[in-house]
């Protein structure tokens, strides 16, 4: 089955309903559509920030404080900024979608990632997958997000108190992507 792929990197917002309709209408064989949208939180855990404070508190998090304590260790942000490597990002996303297409039976896939300055509650990313059966769509959507987060050339920074700080990559994202390694299928 031929697969429809839409990959867009853009500053402007996207319309989830519109993208859902495109996936839904892509073929009469579509029996399942899964979409994921990622948003800007109004805070980032300080462990994700590349600051001295971040690594200090980050090691406290690693020692295993409970969830409630973790969410109280936060730092409010005014602005999130996304940089990418034009040309390379698009081809990496195409390669990731191609891998998903080889692993699962997919009918249509949409990946939209925003760049530039974003504010809390803004949409950052959309991954949508249409397939005949739900397992393919669910799994492929997770795979696409896991690989996008660890392989696609995007970099986030936040502005706090007028100062720009780059977000550090997370081991948990690497672990999430690694679960797809090894076996050909789940």
């Amino acid at each position: 089955m031929s697969m429809t792929t839409r990959i867009r990197i853009q500053q402007q917002d996207f319309d989830l309903a519109e993208e859902y309709q495109l996936l839904r209408q892509s073929d009469s064989a579509v029996g399942a559509v899964v979409t994921f949208s990622g948003l800007v939180r109004d805070f980032e855990l300080v462990s994700e920030l590349g600051s001295e404070l971040g690594s200090e508190l980050g090691s406290e998090l690693d020692r295993g404080v409970d969830r409630q304590d973790q969410s109280s260790i936060k730092s409010s942000i005014d602005l999130l900024s996304l940089q990418h490597y034009p040309g390379m990002t698009e081809s990496l996303l195409e390669a990731i979608v191609e891998q998903a297409n080889q692993r699962w039976n997919l009918i249509a896939t949409t990946v939209i990632h925003r760049v530039g300055d974003l504010a809390p509650k803004d949409q950052i990313v959309l991954v949508g997958v249409a397939s005949q059966h739900r397992a393919d769509a669910f799994e492929a959507a997770q795979f696409l997000m896991d690989y996008l987060k660890t392989q696609a050339t995007f970099w986030k920074s936040v502005r706090r108190n007028g100062e720009q700080q780059w977000i550090e990559s997370k081991a948990s994202d690497q672990q999430a992507a690694a679960r797809w390694d090894g076996s050909d299928d789940e």
Partner: protein, 79 residues
């Protein structure tokens, strides 16, 4: 000449770096930068930093050709 690009936090260390350089491998670029930009060179030695040539991830010993584009990529944080 080789065109240089630095992404993410590496850009903060590379503000004064010229846009082009003469070098035969990415490893040589890193070595040449160490003289004037020791902090940047130290960052480039971090094992998580990847290098691409003409938008393809390559090894540090990849041969470079005139007009090529070398980009230094810290761990990505999109999504």
């Amino acid at each position: 000449m080789i065109n240089l690009l630095f992404f993410g936090r590496l850009g903060d260390f590379a503000k004064q770096v010229p846009a082009t350089i003469e070098a035969s491998t990415p490893a040589e670029i890193r070595q040449l930068l160490a003289a004037d930009f020791p902090d940047l060179a130290r960052e480039l030695h971090q094992p998580q930093v990847l290098v691409s040539v003409n938008k393809m991830i390559v090894g540090w010993d990849q041969p470079l050709f005139d007009g090529g584009e070398v980009a230094f990529l810290p761990p990505v944080t999109g999504g």
